[in-house]
Symmetry: C2
Subunit: 229 residues, 2 copies
């Protein structure tokens, strides 16, 4: 096991070094970068499509990198917003790493981007360990998932700078217990802003754009939780 | 990269050897074993609680092993069914492996179990590579997730012996496109039974118990898809 742990530590260290380089590159170009992490089916792509569409209409120059194991379905959906979008197909890899971000930025002029959104592979566990050079880590949770997800996947929700609740338009239909969910988030993350959204009726979209595009509003994410509490 | 690939191959080979041993152990004790894999929030635990409760009432001796990164919330919920349940806390690990199954069987008399359900960690990617000695791999998809999930995560749905659709009671509220989902499943898995269920109103529970407890109904899962189609 020692050999595996050492190798894993090496991969993470290499990733972190590349992520530092990306962070400098983003800061120099004045691009605000967010890394969106959630379970598959939380509605990241639907929310992101709504967000990019509103951002473009407000004159915010937004762009997206979208990770998926297979298919470019998500990139096609997002391109409808008019924003530049690129797909990263990870095949059997369950998370994005910094080198994939670096490769897929080739040829893009970052000076022409205000806000870059990175949609990670749908997975609540593995992406948490990989810094992508983002300013803001966004953890998403839909009203159709269990309200105790933050307690069951504490690493992600603890390391999040912003927690986004999605699909609030169907909260009643699925008997969403809002206060129980907020308690679960607060048990692992006492201070991150919580934004309640609906891609369908537009709730929270403007607030989220404001947060992701304002340098002072978001922080760099806190040290990761090493052990489950 | 070669070193990493070799090490990963070694881990998988060791897991597969242990899984073969488990499979023999299960066959000798005449236990039918299923490995449930889905995204977090698909409703595995709610369905499993309903299934265990009905199984117990029908005289089927069912038991469950439940994987989670943190908390024993799920084991507590499942124990209400009256069936024996054990929690496997994986901490930061995103999938179950055979050695964890072996350890958590200690002290259980398999001769007293007809059906063992293993609830994997909520993750559509990583569990796919790890055989746990099961007869039946169950891939679950809820009506609140995108209908194209099977195409986006082909490895899991291709390797599934049974595909279970969950939360059908709210299909209309979330505008579930059933035929599009079935097409997506069939594009990566032409033949696995598809069972539509609701933990809330009991739809499909008896059919699922029949399938999981009948040796002839389920197969051993087909070779895994190595590359995304």
């Amino acid at each position: 096991m020692t050999k595996i742990v050492e190798l894993r530590t090496g991969i993470l260290e290499k990733n972190d070094l590349l992520a530092q380089g990306l962070r400098q590159q983003f800061a120099q170009a004045n691009v605000r970068v967010s890394n969106w992490v959630s379970s598959p089916g939380t509605g990241k792509t639907a929310l992101l499509e709504a967000l990019l569409t509103v951002a473009v209409s407000r004159g915010v120059r937004a762009a997206a990198l979208v990770g998926d194991c297979a298919t470019d379905n998500d990139a096609k959906r997002l391109a409808r917003s008019g924003a530049p979008v690129r797909q990263i197909v990870t095949e059997s890899m369950c998370h994005l790493e910094s080198d994939m971000i670096g490769e897929h930025l080739t040829g893009w002029d970052l000076a022409e981007v205000d806000v870059l959104v990175i949609e990670n592979v749908g997975n609540l566990v593995c992406p948490t360990a990989y810094d992508l050079g983002e300013d803001t880590r966004v953890a998403l949770l839909s009203v159709t998932e269990g309200e105790d997800k933050p307690a069951k996947y504490p690493q992600l929700f603890h390391s999040a700078d912003v927690v986004v609740i999605t699909k609030t338009d169907i909260a009643n239909a699925v008997e969403w217990d809002r206060s129980r969910a907020i308690d679960a988030i607060r048990s692992v993350n006492p201070s991150a802003p919580i934004i309640e959204t609906s891609a369908k009726n537009g709730t929270g979209i403007d607030a989220l754009i404001d947060l992701l595009s304002t340098p002072s509003a978001a922080g760099t994410h806190p040290p990761q939780l090493q052990e489950a509490p």
